[in-house]
Symmetry: C2
Subunit: 327 residues, 2 copies
DNA sequence: GACGTTTAGGCAAACGTTTGCCAAAACTGT
DNA sequence: ACAGTTTTGGCAAACGTTTGCCTAAACGTC
């Protein structure tokens, strides 16, 4: 119904100038008498005024748009993060632009350039990959937060878990359960997150008396963690001394491993128990045999938006590590 | 680097007026001599000009933004559609805004209003729910396409599959396989898509000699199809005359049913085979026992964008039904 | 050479918002 | 009553783009 209602419409209705309306809309109420403020508020209500983002963006040089660049939206964990981020952004009055970079640096750069031109008010990088444009972007003054993977080309606010600690927690559990032959499956060209989980796992095992060489490692290639798990676990199950406990650094890797185990006729969790790091709710339905370190993805969104606003307020970008737990 | 390069920058560089640059940028080359066109193109290249979306939006009254409103992004099928839509939109020069309505009419309306104010160039409704704002929006002249669920409050371009035919295809298969006691599990408060799949299934069975009353029906409540499948199949498996073939109208419902079957100690596919409609790639990994009618979600994006542009060109909104197949 | 037509390109207004600056009017204290 | 201050609010410019209209110059025709 309110086809084209602008500040001018409200101003005419209330019998004041556009300046006054603008100021009141933006909360600058000290510049008008209480009576005028009320009159303008009523007029806004009456004509159904909503600020035009284009006019605002043009004048302010910044929009209420926040871009989320995710490496792979087919990965349910990232989709969940995107989803919770969307809710938190809306809550805070932003609008989410979502881009899928497919883990490709050129595409990420293309998006970064496009988002810069769009004058987005913030940038959320879910599993960013190193690229020339990324470094350049950091200098452009747009608030940026890195999720799951740290900024590969510099500093920056990070939202995620303590990946080393998560890996270590799994090591603790394996040792407590009396496992003799632990293994870990992870992507060969992995992110900082994957590497840290593996390192935390191996280091803790070493501290508990399991030599690093004794820990079997299965590496897989490709963007799909399902495939990584399938390929990476192949060699593991062909050995004579098969592992009796495997850490998969993501749920999807565990799914891939499960398929391999099925084909190899190996039972889970007996004789080989599997633990993954992610713990998305789907596990309970399709993989009841899978134990997990649960990452609280649903609260990532709020944390990300809080981080964005902290940067905007000029606070130093601190790390935001979230709690994880077995679940 | 190009902090604030506008038409004026290019104009100065090329020694022409902004009007001329603007026209050339927009392909109106007949209004300038070939020499000038080249000079301007060089200048654009030299200063790295990119049109400012805010200025453009203000003037044109429309942005290059397209909003995708999805009912539930936690549903992998919708996430996949969103993902493929994103790629197709980018290809066509649009930028995707993604909103999760959580299947709630008020939230959908809130988003619709916000997107109208944003002056989006198009609206993609994935599983739209009936709401007051939806009807209103159709009259606003914004190109709209409905995906998976038809517009519940009026006409509109639809992208999806022939749901009745998909249901019927499953009926054919069950009868061909000699199943005696078919069943179907679906959401109680379902969409047009769910209802059509069920209707196609039941009608075809009737045509093939299985009376409608003989078809067991399991209905479940809630937003999560996982829960729908779990709840909806409970009664089915408690009966003395258990079904020997079940159609689940979505993959997630099948996952839910599988959990129930597991708990009830009933094997799949023997003695009870299960077919779902969706056929997302994850099935092969986590549910190898599940046969599916595969819906080509990855091509939805291109079809959606094509539909949007057809509307923009003023073509009559025709239905866009995509092929499905057992996979 | 006079006249009409095409070509090439500039001027300026408009889109809606924000904000620095200015000007009345209303107060204050003496 | 008067000077000084605060309150209240308007004017106008600016952000970058598009487009209707205008004007020269170049071209063509007789």
């Amino acid at each position: 119904m309110p086809a084209d209602v602008s500040l001018a419409t409200v101003a005419a209705q209330a019998g004041v100038s556009v300046s006054t309306v603008s100021r009141i809309v933006n909360g600058e109420t000290r510049r008008a008498s209480p009576a005028t403020v009320q009159r303008v508020r009523d007029a806004i209500e009456a004509v159904g005024y909503r600020p035009n983002p284009a006019g605002r963006a043009l004048r302010r040089g910044e929009t209420q748009l926040v871009a989320v660049l995710a490496a792979n939206l087919d990965n349910p964990a990232m989709a969940t993060i995107a989803s919770s981020t969307e809710a938190a952004l809306r809550e805070a009055g932003y609008v989410m632009i979502l881009c899928d970079t497919h883990d490709r640096p050129e595409l990420q750069d293309e998006y970064l350039a496009a988002m810069r031109v769009q004058r987005v008010g913030g940038l959320v990088m879910i599993a960013a990959v190193a690229s020339p444009g990324l470094a350049e972007m950091a200098g452009a003054g747009v608030p940026m937060v890195f999720v799951t993977r740290r900024n590969p080309v510099g500093p920056g606010l990070f939202v995620g878990i303590d990946d080393r600690a998560a890996g270590a927690a799994v090591a603790d559990r394996f040792v407590a359960a009396g496992c003799r032959r632990p293994a870990v499956v992870f992507p060969r060209r992995g992110s900082s997150a994957s590497r840290d989980r593996v390192a935390g796992f191996v280091d803790r095992l070493a501290a508990l008396g399991v030599a690093s060489e004794a820990v079997l490692r299965g590496e897989g290639d490709g963007l799909s963690h399902l495939q990584v798990g399938y390929d990476g676990s192949a060699a593991l199950f062909e050995r004579a001394d098969r592992p009796d406990a495997v850490l998969c650094v993501s749920d999807q890797i565990a799914y891939g491993l499960a398929r391999r185990a099925r084909e190899a006729g190996i039972g889970i969790p007996d004789p080989c128990c599997v633990v993954s790091i992610d713990g998305t709710p789907l596990n309970q339905w399709v993989a009841p045999w899978l134990a997990s370190v649960r990452i609280p993805y649903p609260v990532y969104g709020a944390e990300i938006v809080a981080g964005l606003e902290a940067i905007r307020r000029g606070e130093a970008p601190a790390e935001r590590l979230l709690p994880f737990a077995f679940g």
